[in-house]
């Protein structure tokens, strides 16, 4: 158990600042941000578009597609589909691109203490 006050120095001899400026860590941060930020912007915009359509385009949303199922219901269900899809994409990306690098850096930082 660590103390409540976070330590200012990692367990090993290298300082946090050195790890932070290492090429590996910069690559890890780049990979995370290059996926997460555009994806967040994307799903928030798509959600906002849906809310605005439901709010101001009643006519369009009420158009029947099949039987009693209208555009509004289809777009709403597509929000579910996109949420599941983005979740799957992120998990795959994190497993392949983020975890191996993060594990490597963590072992370097923590391993030196032993």
């Amino acid at each position: 158990m660590s103390t409540t006050e976070p330590s200012t120095h990692p367990p090993g001899p290298t300082s946090w600042a050195e790890v932070h400026s290492s090429a590996e860590f910069r690559e890890l941060r780049r990979r995370l941000r290059v996926f997460v930020f555009p994806m967040t912007a994307g799903f928030l915009s798509w959600y906002l578009l849906y809310v605005l359509l439901a709010d101001y385009a009643h006519g369009f949303m009420s158009v029947k597609v099949v039987g009693n199922i209208n555009v509004g219901l289809v777009l709403g269900l597509l929000q579910f589909v996109s949420t599941f899809a983005i979740t799957g994409l992120y998990v795959r990306y994190a497993d392949r691109k983020l975890d191996p690098l993060a594990d490597k850096i963590r072992e370097e930082v923590e391993g030196e203490a032993r």
């Binding site: 158990m1 660590s2 409540t4 006050e5 976070p6 330590s7 200012t8 990692p10 367990p11 946090w16 600042a17 790890v19 932070h20 860590f25 890890l28 941060r29 995370l32 997460v36 994806m39 967040t40 799903f43 928030l44 959600y47 906002l48 849906y50 809310v51 605005l52 439901a54 709010d55 101001y56 009643h58 949303m61 009420s62 099949v66 039987g67 009693n68 199922i69 209208n70 509004g72 219901l73 709403g76 929000q79 579910f80 949420t83 599941f84 983005i86 979740t87 992120y90 998990v91 994190a94 975890d99 993060a102 594990d103 850096i105 963590r106 930082v109 923590e110």
Partner: protein, 535 residues
């Protein structure tokens, strides 16, 4: 039409109580077993960080799928049609914010509470006090919503109309919840949530298949039948039935949508669940499981809402005790008679119980860990047991407040009350959390301005909104001191809180870039993070 509502009152209260009693008895056994290994603060607050990703994911859905989701959304869809569906979508899409931006980084940097993450870089005492304040505020609104749901359910299922009888049942629910939290800590609470999530999802799945079966597994015929038995006709399927009346109500809809999608990742009882798993990777898997189960559940509520409109009828629902919250139980009675009604009623009570327990342990942890141990005792608590003792006392106090609040807050639509909790979470918590994780210049003044500013603004705007006074459906219908036109303040308060966080930061000379480097390395790699406790 009224015969259904009356037969519901005369239903079979003894059966309902028996099924609920079995749930309480079963969970109590598990809670007492869980308590054997609860010794340290890490056990009490974070269940020793020993739950697996899937277990925690199921528990998260149990924590998140509140009475508001089950009773409120099904009722809103049954009565207002399409506009009720927005709640489901907002509540689900919001999980992507938690998945992509918050869950893993939070798990790696914190220990027990949201305050831990903020205190990492900033001056401990002021930011912990602020984080505890906003945690308490969100928990209070959310508790009120759950207890209001309990009150409505009591009158619906037990046919108890008298004030005294309802109050006694709410007090019993509160007392059971306090025992869960005191005895079982986070581990016991988590198991209660897992069991409840299983029952809730199984119960709604059966009802969904049953409803669809009545219409030949054809969603389109179900919608058609819902339209036929609704006074408004086709408008039940189209957006605008509730929020399309005027330009103000359209803005209100937008405001609600934004608060829902940004609120989840700032809910303290959701954030705290990420500390119950051993690593950030398990935190990610928890969210994946949670998204799958929550998404499935909201698809079920869509069918249940329209199913209630088709088979029970919107007028019967509106006139039933408990109003729109009665839609799902009425549908259960229509489908499977008293036995299914009893089961669904017990599940609804269990839902309230589990969510209230989760909120209580979060609020008590925040008070004991942030306020007592780190603000009052300045981090020098004699022993960890002392902190846990304070947490247990706080849990009793919060339980008492919840009981009183539940007795006072009956007859409010629970989905609306939860939406207010989301507005506070999105305004007071999320901006600070995101700045803290991603912006290196962020500092103490920015955090304080954003949290206190966002919290104050949200509450002031709610107090002076038509939800509190000046309209027929307001909490105080006889007075009119409303000047803010929207019922949900998110549209104004969330951007304002982001702005205040930025303004406070640049106006302060405090620079914490060194600490930020450490925090960034830790949050992205998990180096030096809290490990699981082996038993």
């Amino acid at each position: 039409m009224n015969t259904l509502a009356q037969s519901l009152e005369g239903g079979n209260p003894a059966l309902n109580i028996t099924i609920f009693g079995l749930f309480v008895a079963g969970t109590m056994v598990i809670v007492f077993r869980a308590s054997r290994n609860t010794k340290t603060a890490s056990d009490y607050y974070a269940a020793g960080r020993a739950f697996t990703g899937p277990q925690n994911g199921i528990a998260i859905s149990g924590d998140y799928l509140s009475a508001a989701s089950f009773l409120g959304i099904a009722g809103a869809i049954a009565v207002y049609g399409y506009d009720g569906f927005l709640y489901s979508i907002g509540f689900l899409v919001a999980w992507l914010v938690a998945l992509l931006l918050v869950a893993e980084l939070l798990r790696n940097t914190g220990k027990f509470t949201m305050g831990d993450v903020l205190a990492f870089r900033m001056r401990q005492r002021p930011v912990r006090a602020a984080a505890a304040t906003s945690t308490m505020a969100v928990s209070f609104f959310y508790l009120l919503a759950q207890m209001a749901g309990a009150g409505g359910l009591v009158s619906l299922l037990l046919g108890i109309e008298g004030e005294a009888g309802q109050s006694i049942v709410i007090a019993v629910v509160g007392a059971v919840m306090i025992v869960y939290v005191l005895v079982g800590g986070m581990k016991g609470t988590t198991w209660v949530q897992i069991i409840k999530a299983g029952l809730l999802i199984a119960g709604t799945a059966v009802m969904t298949v049953w409803v669809l079966g009545r219409f030949g597994l054809n969603l389109s015929s179900l919608l058609g039948a819902a339209v036929d038995s609704s006074a408004g006709g086709d408008s039940l399927l189209n957006p605008g039935a509730k929020y399309g009346a005027s330009e103000t109500s359209k803005l209100d809809f937008l405001s609600l949508g934004i608060a829902l999608v940004l609120g989840t990742a700032g809910l303290p009882h959701v954030l705290m669940r990420f500390y119950t798993v051993p690593t950030a990777k398990d935190a990610r898997r928890s969210v994946v499981w949670a998204i799958a189960l929550i998404g499935l559940f909201y698809l079920f509520t869509l069918v249940l809402g329209y199913g209630a409109a088709a088979l029970v009828g919107a007028d019967t629902i509106k006139n039933a005790p408990g109003s729109s919250n009665a839609a799902a139980p009425l549908l259960a009675q229509e489908l499977g008679g008293p036995l299914l009604l009893g089961f669904i009623a017990a599940v609804a009570f269990a839902t309230i119980l589990a969510v209230v327990a989760g909120l209580t342990i979060t609020a008590s942890a925040s008070f004991a860990h942030d306020v007592y141990a780190n603000v009052i005792k300045k981090g020098k608590v004699d022993s960890k047991n002392d902190e846990v003792r304070v947490a247990r006392i706080t849990a009793c106090v919060i339980g008492a407040v919840a009981i009183v609040g539940g007795i006072l807050a009956k007859d409010q639509n629970v989905a609306f009350l939860v939406a207010l909790a989301f507005a506070v979470a999105a305004s007071a918590n999320l901006p600070t959390l995101l700045y803290s994780l991603f912006w290196k210049r962020f500092n103490t003044r920015g955090a304080l301005w954003s949290m206190y500013g966002g919290l104050t603004l949200t509450i002031v705007l709610i107090v002076f909104s038509p939800a509190v006074s000046g309209s027929e459906s307001a909490m105080v219908p006889d007075a009119d001191f409303a000047w803010f036109p929207l019922s949900n303040p998110g549209l104004v308060s969330i951007p304002a809180s982001f702005f205040l966080g930025w303004l406070g930061t640049v106006l302060s000379k405090e620079h914490l870039e060194d600490k930020h480097r450490e925090m960034e390395v830790r949050s992205l790699t998990g180096a030096g993070s809290e490990k699981a406790v082996a038993h």
